[in-house]
Symmetry: C2
């Protein structure tokens, strides 16, 4: 690392052992120590770091808050971590044109809080929104419950300033609502998991803040009926802004961790949220309630902020509850066409029985994105083998139904070995070719997405 | 072309002189004869054609209906035209999951007509929607008036089956609402103007058909006030589905071609459309009307289909009117941040005075996308030189305002020489590198987007 410290601002470099430990893992539960951590304060710093890395053929890994679930921010083989804690400014909010220019280290929730008083809205809301960074969100193309109506991060990125691994700065995209000049490099960088370049500025599209929100909790005593409700709501042509599902095992897990008063015999529940004009959503809320009641659900409608937050409680305590019960659990993130959700849930229940392992499913039913939690201990050598089999079977079920093996968590290292199940030869070749164009020396977050770089 | 005919279905090949003339030009007004035209009937045919082209190093140009404005479908140097007239089937409409699978030759308007009775909606609506193909729309990332609320074609493409220039078939994207497995090849192919591969199947996302639509016509006696109305509507946080602007010269052109009863002293008008739930849009329509009236506009609101169509009349007869007045006109397609529209219109008016040439501006004010028509004759050698200067000045004004030189028409051949004004060195290098990955022999629609393939 000789020379790296000198090209950085004061305190912009550390290789202290405790620092290396802290920056060596992420929420995937996997980890590996970096050789150093650097804190750039602007684009020029990032350019100098990249040039240094490229001249010395050392790998670099851009890192937001490390909340990623697939190992995207984990440095393999002693890479240098570029941490964006000091590049965390909202540089501009253009209220007239509904755009914002931010540095990658801005926390998602902070952006939301700052723009809401202006009547503006940034829809992507990953579960970790109060800690995760916009840079990480863009790198992983993060989703969240509101994606069912508002789409994912890619839909809100207008343009990117980024540093190529050799230190050159590129500017992609536009400041306007439209643009078709050349290939869509912006969309390509979104979701590329730090394997192409290091982002330094991101221009986001904002939306008008909805006038009003209504939350509905529907509790079902039958899993299939709950699945049918999802599919009925979707085909009723009402577009809820949130349509979250929790199955029996998930409800039990939450209630045993922090009781919220849900009925013990609940087989599944839906948390539904509608937004828009007050009168319009009142009308839609009635339709949605009736539709759930017709399928035998007990329905609770909340309009005030306080009531709404109470209905969200179970959903919010879900992730900690599951980690509490099974700290070594494995969480997958599959998507199926929405109409296949009832079948999927039933198939997962039989898989759980067959393998003798609890499988807890919840997630964004509205867009078919289900988080499948395999409640075993990946650190136990025996269970590890079973988990591996179950994961593969989950992926196969999902692909058989016309689905995808990752809806919003990305590939990283944890799914890199499974890419071939979904992305076939020539398409994978094109992806690897693109990686080579941006990063011919393979120093940008190597080992992520692709197991190896060989083309056919 | 020896051998090409034999690998195709009966009547799948022609090199008759009259055919070559018909397939040699597009709506850009530029043209050049192909060496042959082929009509594949399925993916296998396209794969065989591509393999033939690659083995013989002959260029191929996928072609929809030839309605493109920048020469994307024009075959340069005797390329082979692949025409999609026989690959025009809607293969599947999935009403439960709101998706459709289509062949590239499906006409946009035909798709709209077939799905509307099912309560479904395909928002992209380029002016040529009753003739243009989905394949062409995807290749150019077409927009249309409804883009202000619903986004452009890229926002509705979930996945693509395409043939690489060497004949290999790739499948990109997903059938689901979300997916983050690897790089976004789907988004990359959208808008690539046929320079990367030949699409054979396209999976589209559909939306629920809005319950109701209201149309508002607001006529202003002052251009700046009209521009302010656009900006006021945008920042009022109402999202109209259409927000079209016509300036004085455009109104005059329409009225002289086919009188629709617009006041002769109108300086500018806005055509505004709101959609959604009946009650909600009635509320919004009142707000929009009041906002326009406060700026001195005469406002006309239409709810019934018949009244609505009457208000659209002027907008619809616009393109033929302008061609009638000036058959050799040049049409540009710039975008500026929406708040800069008043400034842009004023600057274009002074440019018109300075150069002594009529400039007629209209378009999608809601997303800042203005079609700037230079009413001179590009076929007249003297005027050609002035047009060239004016075009460059228009682009410079637009870029100075933070805009882009193409909102929805693409680059093709007509803007290829201007790419460098907007896309700088390293970003252009990455685009050229991607082109080389997909098309190492440069046989896919060569000469489009990039003037040359040299990287820095």
């Amino acid at each position: 690392m000789k020379g790296l410290k000198d090209i950085l601002p004061p305190d912009g470099f550390s290789d202290a052992p405790e620092t290396l430990v802290c920056y060596g893992f992420d929420a995937s539960g996997t980890g590996s120590k970096p050789s150093a951590v650097v804190w750039p304060e602007g684009t020029d710093d990032v350019a100098r770091i990249s040039k240094f890395a490229s001249d010395n053929r050392i790998a670099i890994v851009p890192r937001g808050a490390g909340t990623g679930m697939t190992g995207g921010a984990v440095p393999l083989n002693g890479a240098i971590i570029i941490s964006f804690e000091r590049m965390n400014r909202i540089l501009e909010v253009d209220e007239k044109n509904l755009t914002a220019l931010v540095e990658p280290g801005v926390i998602n929730g902070q952006l939301q809080r700052e723009i809401e008083p202006m009547g503006l809205f940034y829809p992507p809301d990953p579960a970790s929104m109060h800690f995760c960074t916009i840079g990480g969100n863009v790198a992983e193309n993060a989703g969240g419950p509101r994606a069912v109506k508002y789409g994912v991060t890619r839909d809100y990125v207008l343009g990117i300033e980024a540093v190529l691994p050799d230190g050159r700065v590129i500017n992609t995209g536009v400041r306007t609502m439209k643009g078709v000049v050349g290939y869509d490099l912006t969309g390509l960088i979104v979701g590329s998991e730090g394997t192409l370049c290091t982002m330094t500025r991101i221009r986001l599209k904002l939306a008008p803040l909805p006038q009003a929100v209504t939350t509905i909790l529907a509790v079902f005593d039958d899993l299939r009926k709950c699945g049918s409700a999802v599919s009925d709501i979707t085909s009723s042509l009402i577009v809820p802004r949130v349509l979250e599902l929790m199955d029996r095992e998930t409800i039990k897990a939450v209630e045993s961790y922090k009781p919220t008063g849900l009925p013990a015999d609940a087989e599944a529940l839906l948390l539904i949220e509608l937004d828009g004009q007050e009168r319009a959503i009142a009308e839609d809320a009635e339709k949605v309630s009736n539709l759930c009641k017709a399928l035998g659900a007990a329905v609770n409608v909340a309009v005030s902020e306080e009531q709404r937050q109470r209905l969200w409680e179970a959903r919010r305590s879900l992730s900690p509850a599951l980690f509490h019960i099974s700290p070594g659990k494995v969480s997958e993130d599959i998507v199926v066409p929405r109409s296949r959700i009832p079948d999927l849930l039933v198939r997962l229940r039989s898989l759980s029985k067959k393998r003798g392992i609890d499988i807890v499913s919840f997630g964004h039913a509205g867009d078919g994105n289900i988080h499948v939690n395999i409640m075993a201990d990946r650190n136990d050598p025996d269970q590890k083998e079973i988990i591996k089999k179950v994961v593969k079977e989950v992926f196969e079920i999902c692909l058989e139904m016309g689905g995808t093996i990752s809806g919003e968590h990305g590939v990283g290292t944890t799914k890199a070995g499974h890419m071939g199940l979904e992305v076939k030869g020539p398409a994978l070749d094109m992806m690897k070719g693109i990686k080579e164009v941006f990063d011919p020396m393979n120093i940008m977050n190597p080992g992520k997405i692709f197991v190896n770089r060989d083309r056919h």
